[in-house]
């Protein structure tokens, strides 16, 4: 099974009303096999260095944030 990687990402600091309490948080486009998917990436911390190509962990089920992946 392939290892998912970060294709691109952003850190959301001004969030929609529904997500306001959760900011800052990371949303990325993840390359997982041949597929690209938009997902929240769990486990973001300000001190974390986030880079394109970084390996991610596929979550067995969606987390409470809806994330399918984490750092």
């Amino acid at each position: 099974m392939s290892i998912p990687t970060l294709h691109t990402f952003t850190i959301i600091r001004t969030a929609p009303s529904l997500f306001r309490e959760e900011a800052p948080y990371c949303v990325g486009i993840v390359k997982d096999g041949d597929q690209l998917t938009t997902s929240r990436i769990d486990g973001y911390r300000e001190e974390l260095r986030t880079v394109i190509g970084q390996r991610l962990i596929r979550l067995p089920a969606s987390s409470p944030s809806g994330a399918q992946y984490s750092f």
Binding site: T8, T10, I12, S17, R20, E22, V27, I29, T38, G53
Partner: protein
Amino acid sequence: MNNTLHSRTVTVAGIGETLMGRYPDRSIRDMIQEAGAKAIADSGIDVNLIQAVYVGNFAGQQLAQQGHIGSLVGETLGLLGVPTMRLEAACVSGGLAFLQGIQAIRSGLYDVVLVGGVEKMTHQPTDIVTSALATAMDAELEASSGLTFPGSFAMIANRYFHEFRDVRHEMAQVAVSAHDNALLNPHAQMRKAITIDDVLSAPRIADPFGLFDCSLVTDGAAFMVLTTEEIARQAGSRNRVVTVSGAGHGGDALTLHGKKSMTSFAATKQAAAQAYAQAGLGPQDIDLAEVHDCFTITQIINTEDLGFFEPGTGADAVATGRTSRLGDKPINVSGGLKAKGHPIGATGISQAIEIVTQLRGDAQDRQIPQADIGLTHNLGGTAGTCVVTILEGE
């Protein structure tokens, strides 16, 4: 009504827009009245000759509790009994209204139409506006993750940095240039000079974007009267005749992850290819352009996709001054979405109004010396829909 289907030359006979800005006390009706009446008066054409109305609006229901805006335009401007149509495709709603009007005249369906756009946004708090804007992306596959529009284009910027180089400094120059241009535009919302340091040190919105990388939240309306060349001349206007020689329409996936490239927009390339082919022109022939700078990175990518600069070199053109008001390819002389304003449904029309104003030689302090052929580029969502038009002065 002329039902003969053939291609006719379309003329922009009249233009009118409100000042762009924050007008919490102005209603949608009030803004339509001002901009629509100005456009009709400017055309010199009898209002009773207008046969149809096409109007762009994105978030009337969510932000202003107002739908059915086509009919509202008709009643407000005294066009009772005239068929109207509202078009919605996020930020290209106005561009689509323009395109629809062009097609109606070209085909012979109508001889005189009113096209326009309107948006009322600034009375709502930022998070409500952000939520409304997010409805222009895929609700299930994107917005549900907490993604915002700045976030979506920020992901594009980070990918662009990865594929080409980090252009944060040039993005800041885009913002500075837009604000400088807006200082010369009495219609602009943000008439305030800023520095590169201001941009780079601004509060973060979605990395790598700060506040000044983002276009404005704007109230405003813009309208134009389109007709045939023959009717425009009969109206006896003293304005330089401006014709639409090209009008292209491009499409792509709604989601960012569904696009083949995140650093070049297929919808722009498709729309531009159509517009250039219709006009018999190429990127080298364009004297000035109003391009969709919803975010600073977007302007850089757009100028590459329109063929003005090679892929990966749009930022170099900014850095060397080529896209400035006095450069060889002036971009967003109006101040663009970034500083003139971005009244979403009206933006595509407002861009065309700037080009018409420049081609007529009426842009006063911001008039560029050589203005015979201009281009508008209006993008919807995360580049899911695009309209490109080419306008020529007689």
